[in-house]
Amino acid sequence: MTAPSQTAPARPAATLPRALGENRAALAFGVLLVTWIAAILFAKGFDSVSSVRYLVQTAAFLGIVAVGQTLVIMMSGIDLSVSGVVALSAVVCAQVASGAGGTAGIAVALAASVLVGLANAAGVTWLRVPPMVMTLATGTIVAGALLVYTDGSPKSAKIPLLGALANDRVAGVPLAFVLWIGITAVAAWLLHASRVGRYVFALGNGERASRASGVPLARTAFIAYGTCSLLAGVSGLVLLGFTSTSSLTMGNPYQLLSIASVVLGGTSILGGRGHVLGTVAGSLLLTLLTALLAAWNMSEGVRQITLGLLIIALLLAYARERRS
């Protein structure tokens, strides 16, 4: 895709603040708003302050992963290993914390997460493995390593710091949400205001041309994949704080949902176009839909089908790509 990023004709939405300059990111917030109003009007239990609070708190788990996924997708990559890394970070933290204390657990977990991201970047840049295959493979290796590491039975752990991060509030706002918004702000700077961000966009719009014009592929990939894994690790830690237990499969939903958040947030799946703020809307939308489905009494299978169909329908509705 070497098409210029401003292919969409100027529409009224373009008069919105520049932060939402891309039409699709603004559209994502519009869809979110409409869905939320519909939920308040037609479903029970979505009209209270506490429900909003719970929603933004649980959306933070997905949202933090999705912010990292945005960085990778923006440079035409994809990270299928996030599910493994979420579990890795929580499981390793719980395991280490039971022996060496919470702080050590957090440090080791985050270091292990970043390591996976660096391995992804190394495979993608140096070995020239397609991102999908590389991250699928590392995700599988991580899952296997966790099986070996825990002997199949991961531990639970109560770590006060993580518990507070996941459950406490500041002036009525859940701390997890504050953390998510803080991370998004930093990511917005990294992606939309820094030099690295420009490299990311350039690579997303055309790798050959960018490399020819001196964009450092390796460095950009290491930053993007490393950050993505780090954030997946952070999300795993917050999840550990939220549930006080770790499991080998706890990251599984985040693989598809994080990618869907990014795409529903208006970022092109082919990279090079979009805004990280749209991803926030995408994560909130998907969490809202999940909560709506949970409100209806459905079996696990039916719920999974409905969510899958909803995601496909949403993708079809406004994330289509016109491929050359």
């Binding site: 994809i78 495979g123 070995l127 020239r128 493995v129 397609p130 999908m132 295959v133 590389m134 699928l136 493979a137 590392t138 995700g139 599988t140 290796i141 899952a143 296997g144 390593a145 099986l147 070996v148 002997d151 199949g152 693989q255 598809l256 990618i259 869907a260 795409v263 799946i269 082919l270 079996s299 696990e300 299978g301 039916v302 719920r303 999974q304 089908i305 409905t306 969510l307 899958g308 169909l309 995601i311 496909i312 993708l315 079809l316 994330a319 289509r320 790509e321 016109r322 491929r323």
Partner: protein
């Protein structure tokens, strides 16, 4: 004559290379299992490897047309569940239903890929959610029962005939036949150069839908085979097949960009992965290491392929 021989070898670089690797692996294997080359052992091994071989063939089919199927494991589990649930009321009907389910799922994937304008990775990843849900509806808990006579005949041979082996041979013949048809040619053409194929009058969308549906036949047979081999159904058993089918295809030299690859190499690739996994168990390694090894095999295989092709093209 020697020139011709080297020419043939060069033309089948992937098959020759894999064949050589396989011979080495078999030699090591025979060291651990002295009864490897007896009919009983071949029957059991072919029963064990059939799902992976067929899954790999399905993935290769899709990849040859320039696609990828991340929902393969879910569809395989779906076919397995349908067969296991219905097997007691008549094996033939159950088989037809399981095949129909897999083909329908494949066709649905194909329609989405052809018309959605989204990359196959995303479409099939989202679809895997749906098929996983359908499988859970069909079979919420592991269970179902396959008649024990069939299980026995399949795993231990029927009148001395290794049924899974025959099944794989028949499927390969089917592939050979389909390859020579207009559809088979179009499949390679669409994978090799979609625009060119479209320009020369091939209905690329129909071919894509047909490709995913046809791969569904292989996936369905793999699911049925897995159900017969294990004697029951399990909704969660399909996941590893997605990665392993990609790994086998990559090992076989099937290109990610479509149009390049040979099915017999895919069969050898799947055999290699299956034997390697078994060998790990023989050496006394914990089965927990399987996932690690499979991931590493995939990375190594694709790295070797990419570096080798880059030398040729750059």
């Amino acid at each position: 004559m020697p020139d011709r021989l080297t020419g043939v070898l060069r033309g089948n670089l992937d098959v020759t290379g894999l064949g050589a690797l396989l011979v080495v692996l078999l030699a090591v294997y025979a060291h651990y299992d002295s009864e490897l080359f007896t009919p009983a052992s071949i029957t059991i091994l072919s029963a064990q490897f059939l799902p992976l071989i067929l899954a790999a063939m399905a993935q290769s089919t899709v990849m040859l047309a320039g696609g990828i199927d991340l929902s393969l494991g879910s569809v395989l589990a779906l076919a397995m569940a349908v067969f296991a649930v219905r097997a007691e009321d008549g094996v033939l009907l159950a088989g037809v239903l399981a095949l129909a389910a897999a083909v329908a799922a494949g066709a649905a994937n194909g329609v989405l890929v052809a018309y959605a304008g989204l990359p196959p990775i995303i479409v099939t990843l989202a679809a895997s959610f749906v098929w996983g849900g359908v499988t859970l509806v069909v079979l919420p808990k592991p269970g179902g029962a396959v008649p024990s006579g069939l299980v026995n005949a399949y795993n231990n041979g029927w009148n001395g005939i290794a049924l899974p082996f025959v099944a794989i041979a028949l499927v390969l013949v089917l592939w050979k036949a389909v390859r020579t048809t207009r559809f088979g040619l179009s499949l390679y053409a669409v994978g090799g150069n979609e625009h060119g194929a479209y320009a020369s009058g091939i209905a690329t969308r129909t071919v894509k839908i047909g490709t995913y549906a046809f791969a569904g036949v292989f996936i369905g047979l793999a699911g049925i085979g897995l159900a017969i081999q294990t004697g029951s159904g399990d909704a969660t058993i399909g996941a590893p097949y997605t990665l392993n089918s990609i790994a086998a295809s990559v090992l076989a030299g099937v290109s990610f960009f479509g149009g390049v690859g040979q099915m017999r190499a895919t069969v050898l690739g799947a055999l290699l992965i299956g034997l390697l996994t078994n060998l790990l168990l023989f050496t006394g390694m914990s089965p927990f290491y399987q996932l690690i090894v499979q991931g590493v095999v995939l990375i190594v295989a694709i790295t070797v392929k990419t570096l080798a092709t880059r030398e040729r093209t750059d």
